[in-house]
Symmetry: C2
Subunit: 249 residues, 2 copies
């Protein structure tokens, strides 16, 4: 998939690979105008984290996986950046959970939806996975949102009890929380509205967070929801890691 | 210039205006592929600063202006992002200093150089300013750099004693410092190589930093170089402001 002529031992390899994936997606018309800037903001926060998965991020990923595993109707939401950066991992996670993956974008145009859906279909075929992909024919709306950004599938996002929305906009996150869903967000900015509003927030780079979940899905026999999980404390720990990173330098 | 249909009283107005300028520049072919991502990283650091000019940033801007004012051969270096975001302010500063402005880009292609130079020429004509703009015919090289990125003008960057290089790459900053020049950098990341290596580093958003300098150039009768100026202390103060911002939240 990524035929980037880079050396995996290069210290910036992971970061360069992600940029390469965004460039490919940009060429395919999958991204909104703000996609690159949003990615840059994430890079800055990841830089402060030391570009590594912290203990608090790991515990958030495991809690997220446990919620998804024990959900009645889990669903994974995918926007342009998520499709660009981590289609394979999202498809693998959906396959493990036997749940649908729904393409749901903030700046919805028929062209972008088509570009994202066709990219995901290609990856699904390449990985030979049996995953239901939604997004092509929304037949419901998310209450509290206006216009095309409210569109969703009845049997997908609308009916879900637990939803993974990586890199999500604050308004959308809030609307989903208000619907009573358990909302899992992956966001490198622990101070963002989405990070604060979500039920579980993984303060980690998208592909690393998904890798943690996929590894756990293979290696852990039991996935238990931690009833003493403290969303605020985990968020604060992520922030503290960044402060430590700044202070050490 | 910026006919953005936005309300200046909107809390995100300045930030949206900068994005709009980048979009215009992108359409004109002025930007490198990494421009938007770099801007996003800056946005994240500015967010941590509270999107305001701190006291330490102000003192760095005044020190920078004093150096430039007392230089024998000052020069202002402009790359794609700087041209996109702040051509007017850079031209005004060059006019005040009676010094050349040199377009000098990291990923140099004839097309991008032409796009940037023609944009600056337009702005210069619109502002009716008498500024020598270089970059069109480099006849010298910066020692220690390889390929097209070393190219510069003999009567511009090469001969300069004090140089303003906003948003500069670390390698380039290092090469200029090694040439014995006083190098002024504007960089929102106080931990970047450029920020550390420069003689004076202004940890502030580009247009705010230039505004501070332009205001001072009009209102301050004397611009004195502060001989007790402590680069390290000013950088640390910028970092401390970000830590305070994170802690308060």
């Amino acid at each position: 998939m990524d035929d980037i002529a880079a050396d995996p031992s290069h210290p910036r390899y992971a970061s360069l690979l992600m940029r390469h994936r965004l460039e490919v997606a940009e060429e395919r018309g999958m991204l909104a105008g703000s996609a690159m800037i949003a990615h840059g903001r994430g890079e800055a926060f990841d830089y402060l984290l030391g570009e590594r998965t912290t203990e608090s991020a790991r515990s958030a990923s495991l809690q997220a996986l446990a919620y998804l595993r024990h959900a009645k109707r889990p669903v994974l939401s995918v926007n342009g950046n998520v499709a660009a950066l981590a289609s394979d991992a999202m498809l693998r996670l959906a396959a493990f959970l036997s749940c649908p993956l729904e393409v749901n974008i903030f700046y919805r145009t028929p062209e972008r939806m088509k570009a994202i859906l066709s990219f995901i279909d290609e990856r699904k075929a390449a990985l030979d996975l049996d995953v239901k992909v939604l997004g092509h024919a929304p037949d419901a709306t998310i209450p509290g949102l206006k216009g095309p950004r409210a569109a969703c599938h009845k049997e997908g996002i609308l009916a879900s009890d637990v939803i993974l929305v990586p890199l999500e906009d604050g308004d959308r996150c809030e609307a989903l929380v208000k619907m009573g869903k358990t909302v899992v967000v992956i966001d490198l900015n622990p101070l963002s509205r989405s990070a604060k509003l979500a039920s579980v927030t993984i303060v980690d780079e998208l592909s690393r967070a998904l890798e943690t979940m996929l590894e756990a899905s293979e290696t852990m026999s039991e996935l238990t929801i931690d009833t003493s999980y403290d969303h605020q404390a985990v968020l604060s720990a992520g922030l503290q890691e960044m402060l430590n990173g700044l202070n050490e330098d």
